[in-house]
């Protein structure tokens, strides 16, 4: 029996299915940008969500797409934050966007150098290596007090207007529009990247490194590439924090930051790019709401949420949101069009 011939058009459509924009995605970004005008009094927390979302997106690129777990991602975040703050304080680069790029490149350089440490070993090895690296950088920043301000943090940083036009304000209006724009652009690049042949090869390396190398893929090369890119994303997230708060302190390197980040990504689910963003929204609003109720005990509730997620997701905790995503994916353009035409048909 001969198989039925597949048309190339259909195959192309199926191959590019992952890359197609879904209605919920479009709605997500419309709401995010509409918040610039709709919720002016919430811009400070929204700014935090934007850079935290970008930071989590960075972790998603290595964990969700390449299977590299990290408990020290704050190393790159912190480097980016200090780089941006120092560039501004010493007026080396006054324009924030340019400084942001330089901070990202610095983090990428650190990512490239340290990527060789995460190539081998189990998850536990990787957790320890990344954790150690972040601790190392924190102490380094502590010792270099003349440069970083040590335990007091880097004070007296003033950030010039974005593109020479948009001045940062204390309500976070400029900060949010700026952070969201940066997040959106980097998200588009990441989205393109994960749906490319390169992105597919990352999934293969994550799924079965033995076979990936047996079809000619340099597993180490791909891991180095994505780790370096992700480090750049984390550095830019850190730089956004420094620029929107005009401050950098040792806390940017802290273990808590790396651990919270993992939590954020797990809350939102890894491996579909939106997990970090949704996780950041949930995490920040939960923090905001719960710490208003019980300032000291809010981590209790976060802990509870984590335990519930583990119970629901069992051994696949990074993709515990998969069932919800499956439901959401039913809302495609086709079903949307069908519903609209059905509704308009009824009206007639």
């Amino acid at each position: 029996m001969l198989p039925s011939p597949i048309s190339i058009r259909v195959a192309t459509e199926w191959l590019s299915a992952r890359a197609r924009w879904q209605p919920l995605e479009v709605a997500f970004w419309i709401v995010a940008f509409a918040a610039i005008w709709l919720f002016p009094d919430r811009h400070l927390i929204l700014t935090e969500i934007a850079w935290l979302g970008l930071f989590a997106l960075s972790l998603d690129l290595i964990l969700g797409y390449a299977g590299i777990i990290s408990l020290g991602h704050a190393a790159f975040f912190g480097l980016g934050a200090y780089a941006a703050a120092l560039l501004a304080k010493y007026e080396i680069i006054n324009e924030p966007v340019l400084a942001l790029l330089v901070a990202g490149l610095a983090a990428m350089a650190l990512g490239f150098v340290t990527s060789f440490l995460v190539l081998r070993g189990s998850d536990l090895t990787r957790l320890m290596v990344t954790l150690g690296l972040a601790l190392l950088l924190r102490e380094l920043a502590n010792r270099l007090g003349w440069l970083t301000g040590g335990a007091d943090g880097l004070q007296g940083v003033s950030i010039k207007p974005v593109l020479g036009m948009f001045r940062f304000d204390m309500f976070g209006h400029t900060g949010y529009a700026y952070s969201l724009t940066v997040l959106f652009i980097l998200f588009l690049i990441a989205r393109r990247l994960v749906n490319s042949p390169f992105g597919l090869s990352l999934l293969s390396v994550k799924g079965n490194p033995l076979r990936a190398s047996a079809i000619g893929i340099s597993v180490d090369g791909r891991l180095i590439a994505i780790y370096t890119i992700a480090a750049g994303y984390a550095g830019i997230a850190g730089a956004l924090l420094a620029q929107t708060t005009s401050f950098a302190s040792l806390e940017v390197f802290s273990f808590d930051r790396s651990a919270d980040l993992l939590l954020v990504l797990i809350i939102g689910g890894a491996g579909y790019l939106y997990g970090g963003l949704i996780g950041a929204i949930i995490f920040k609003f939960m923090q905001d709401y719960l710490s208003a109720l019980t300032p000291q005990y809010w981590p209790f509730w976060i802990g509870l949420v984590l335990v519930v997620i583990v119970l629901v997701g069992r051994d696949r905790i990074t993709s515990w949101t998969a069932p919800f995503r499956r439901i959401a994916s039913h809302l495609s353009w086709r079903t949307l069009a069908r519903r609209i035409s059905a509704a308009s048909g009824e009206r007639r």
Binding site: I8, A11, T12, P197, G199, L200, N208, A214, I215
Partner: protein, 251 residues
């Protein structure tokens, strides 16, 4: 006789155990060469050495006369040494379409292409579809690999290697574990491999070996024991004694 692959005094030791003992093997271009031997004879080690998964303790490996002993697995794949696995090594979360698409784009050197969406090159998609149809995977191209029937997974295992366009294909027990009614499909696929591809078949099933191979090497205790045409090997009393035993006597 043009030689596709040659090993010279290949030795592999694991802390005292000699897994490969001075193996000097020649595989002719376009050959259908079978490698047989009892369990623990060192077949798997030899494959790992040939594909670069392990480095030999001593000796050299030549592909078309060129020394490739120091090259890594993926570099050897680019040169045309491709293998299949006895136990499926597939990408469970990808579809056959994505799996073959990945291999083809890697082979074309477009694997680092990060700006182009998967499936945006019509000629690549055409090649992927052709391979999937050739291996009877047309009806499952959009299913997750993990949910495919075992026989289809075995076909995908071979199709994936073929998508890398091998010059030398190492088939590691292609029909292992396949139910009787799906077996012929696998064997037909193996028989229909392009004639210009040199094939080294590692196999336990003597029916497959003798219907497929034009040359057989017998490996015992890590060393080459006997080599010859299927008739010679089948007739050889030492082989009968050491390895084939009753199976050949029955045949």
């Amino acid at each position: 006789m043009a030689v596709a692959l040659e090993t010279i005094n290949l030795v592999k030791r694991f802390s005292g155990i000699v897994a490969s003992n001075n193996v000097s093997l020649q595989i002719a271009k376009g050959a259908r060469h079978a490698l047989i031997g009892p369990n623990g004879a060192g077949k798997t080690t030899l494959i790992n050495l040939l594909t670069g998964v392990q480095q030999p303790t001593g000796g050299r490996i030549l592909l078309d006369g060129e020394d490739i002993t120091g090259l890594s697995t993926h570099e050897r794949v680019r040169l045309g040494i491709v293998r299949t696995f006895q136990i499926n090594q597939l990408f469970n979360d990808l579809t056959p379409l994505e799996t073959i698409g990945l291999a083809v784009s890697e082979r074309r050197g477009q694997g680092l292409d990060w700006w182009r969406i998967v499936g945006s090159r019509p000629d690549l998609v055409a090649e992927v579809v052709e391979i999937l149809e050739r291996f009877h995977l047309a009806d499952v191209i959009d299913k997750r690999t993990a949910v495919l029937p075992y026989g289809k997974q075995r076909l995908l295992e071979i199709a994936l290697a073929i998508a890398c366009r091998p010059r030398l294909l190492l088939l590691d027990e292609p029909a292992a574990g396949v139910p009787e009614d799906e077996r012929h499909e696998i064997l037909a696929a193996v028989a229909a491999l392009p004639a210009d591809v040199t094939v080294l078949l590692i196999e336990h099933d003597m029916d497959i070996v003798f219907s497929f191979a034009d040359r057989i090497s017998v490996l015992v205790n890590g060393a080459l024991f006997v080599e010859g045409s299927p008739e010679e090997v089948a007739r050889d009393p030492r082989v009968k004694a050491v390895y084939l035993g009753e199976e050949v006597a029955d045949a």
